[in-house]
């Protein structure tokens, strides 16, 4: 459905997209996962013909984004990060406006508008001005708008950014049903791991303008090797990564050992954590006996998340990075905050 070939985007000296090659299949939900500034939105904007790439091209629904931008536009629907409907108009009027802009035939226009309103559950609010809508309703209206002209491909840029947890889950269900009912291909960007995990059939992890991993969520997680045991130690100096690794080496169920020195946490990737945990604790106890103290402070075991996958490929924690970013935004009185103030007015 989409073929991206050697796509490069540079702003002066800043490389936003660095030779991206990617294939998105028919009827799949493809997730572009990465931290802010990774190049997700830029990639979507290029595919939607809003920005021209510096080098390379892409074929969307059989049309070249550089040679046939207008045909590409007719065959895609896009939902931007921030709601872009006119909030002085009603939901219905916004949909009418866009059905005219997309040249939806007069005979089927009204029918199509009621269909998409029904689909996103906004029929009862269609004659209210958009400024009276909640954040989730606005987002749903955007999705309805994106579907009006029956596009083959839909782009969703951070579909649940800024929504509360319950609205997010409702949104996920909408999106999931949408792809099944309307037989479309959906590409979404997100920095939420759980979202990518829940929705996407395949994920491309993007960081610093490069696709660094590409597979289904479950295969990406399997690639890490089994489950994860985290052992917090009391005395950071006692253990070194090498000594733990050496002691665990005889056990075939241990795949990999990592040592987070700053927080004093040993991360061990194992098969079947619930049965093998006692063995591992025994190893740690032996170290403790040698040093005359019980060195294990706490133990935690869990299945790997996409966050672990991201950590593995980038060496950074996506959520930590996100939080830092958001704190910086707040400190500067960032755009989202100003936007929120505008919303409240």
């Amino acid at each position: 459905m989409i073929t991206i070939k050697n796509l490069v985007k540079k702003y002066d000296n800043l490389t936003v997209l660095d030779n991206v090659n990617l294939e998105v299949y028919d009827n799949e939900i493809f997730g572009l996962l990465g931290p802010n500034g990774a190049g997700k939105t830029t990639l979507i904007h290029i595919l939607a013909t809003l920005i021209k790439p510096t080098l390379g091209t892409a074929i969307v629904n059989g049309y070249d984004i550089i040679k046939e931008p207008s045909r590409v536009r007719s065959s895609i629907g896009i939902v931007f990060q921030a709601p872009s409907s006119d909030d002085m108009l009603t939901g219905y009027e916004n949909l009418k406006l866009h059905s005219l802009l997309y040249g939806v035939h007069a005979q089927i226009r009204e029918k199509r508008i009621s269909e998409v309103l029904e689909l996103v559950g906004l029929t009862h609010r269609k004659d209210d001005q958009v400024k009276k809508y909640s954040g989730g309703m606005r987002r749903r209206l955007e999705i309805a708008r994106g579907l009006l002209h029956k596009p083959k491909v839909i782009f969703l840029d951070e579909p649940t950014l800024g929504l509360d947890p319950s609205s997010r889950e409702i949104m996920w269900k909408y999106i999931d049903r949408l792809v099944k009912d309307e037989k479309i291909t959906l590409i979404l960007t997100t920095h939420y791991m759980d979202e990518a995990d829940f929705l996407c059939s395949r994920i491309g992890i993007i960081d610093k303008g490069k696709i660094i991993a590409l597979d289904s969520p479950s295969r990406l997680k399997e690639g890490l090797g089994g489950e994860i045991i985290e052992i917090e130690v009391k005395n950071k100096q006692v253990e070194s990564k090498d000594s733990v690794e050496h002691l665990l080496e005889p056990y075939h169920f241990v795949h990999k050992v990592e040592f987070n020195e700053k927080e004093g946490i040993v991360v061990i990737y194992v098969d079947d954590a619930s049965h093998n945990l006692p063995t591992i604790l025994k190893v740690f106890n032996n170290i403790s006996i040698n040093s005359n103290s019980n060195n294990v402070k706490s133990v935690n075991f869990r299945s790997p998340t996409l966050n672990d996958v991201f950590l593995k490929f980038t060496g950074r924690d996506i959520m930590m990075q996100q939080q830092q970013q958001e704190e910086e935004d707040r400190a500067e009185g960032g755009f989202m905050e100003r936007y929120a103030q505008y919303e409240n007015k």
């Binding site: 920005i51 536009r73 007719s74 006119d86 002085m88 406006l97 866009h98 802009l101 007069a106």
Partner: protein, 278 residues
């Protein structure tokens, strides 16, 4: 046969897109009541406070004879200052509403509405023309309210003069909405908005001769008035409404207005084509 039918459909679709953009502007205008009230009230302040206040000075026999002989020509008899500036106040309303309307595109961009229009299969030219039609409609509605108030201060209209007035207002409004859209298409933030007011809107208004006759001006001022398209609208409207033969004959004024409308419209379409979508 088939190709003719598809052709007709394409034209209908294109007109539909144009209509959609115009309709949105029109509806937003009708709903933003405060904008309508404010933009009608300001010209009225000028008309009644400045017109009444300065009118009392100008009504002094010596001044009136000065204006009467040197500037207003033979037709001044029976025209007071308030009536004299009335065509200028109409133009003021058109200048303000058109330029502001055009530069409001910065808001459309700020709240991503513009992006959603640009990602649709609509040509930039269609977006531009739809917008200018929207600007012309809103300017005409505001001017129409003032024209009705004109009856109170003793302005008379004939069917022919109304046609001429509407054409002049539409031409000026097309030119200045284009100007606003050109500026808006280059501006990326709202910070520069105040500059538009100081460096575009007020100069256009004050240099148009809305408040004073154009004859006998200092040379530098006279030159500046000739490059202001609104000058020709004021001159022609005075001619039409009050029967004052001003600086130029009606046909010349209308012709220059038409040329500036075409020129600014063309620059506007070109600016829209190169405008960044995000």
């Amino acid at each position: 046969m088939l190709s003719m039918k598809t052709n007709k459909n394409t034209i209908e679709t294109e007109l539909g897109k144009l209509y959609a953009i115009w309709l949105r502007e029109f509806k937003v205008f009708l709903r933003e009541k405060s904008r309508l009230v404010a933009s009608t009230f300001t010209p009225l302040l000028w008309l009644f406070v400045i017109g009444g206040g300065f009118g009392s000075i100008v009504a002094n026999p010596s001044t009136i004879s000065a204006i009467g002989h040197s500037s207003l020509g033979q037709a001044t008899s029976g025209i007071d200052y308030q009536q004299f500036i009335f065509p200028g106040i109409i133009c003021m309303s058109v200048i303000f509403s058109s330029v502001f309307f055009g530069s409001y595109i910065i808001w459309d961009r700020k709240f991503d509405f513009l992006k959603s229009v640009m990602v649709a299969p609509v040509s930039r030219t269609t977006i531009f023309i739809g917008k200018t039609f929207g600007g012309m409609t809103t300017s005409l509605i505001q001017a129409a309210i003032l024209l009705v108030i004109g009856l109170v201060i003793g302005i008379h209209y004939s069917p022919l003069s109304i046609v001429a007035i509407v054409v002049l207002i539409l031409l000026l409004s097309f030119a200045l909405t284009s100007l606003g859209l050109i500026i808006g298409s280059y501006m990326e933030s709202l910070e520069g908005f105040q500059l538009i007011v100081s460096f575009v809107v007020f100069p256009l208004y004050f240099l148009s001769g809305a408040l004073f006759p154009l004859n006998n001006l200092p040379t530098w001022l006279s030159i500046l008035t000739t490059v202001d398209p609104a000058t020709y609208a004021v001159d022609a409207l005075r001619n039409t409404m009050l029967g004052i033969v001003g600086k130029n004959p009606f046909a010349i004024d209308a012709g220059i207005l038409l040329i500036s409308a075409i020129a600014l419209g063309t620059i506007g379409m070109l600016s829209f084509r190169r405008m960044k979508a995000v």
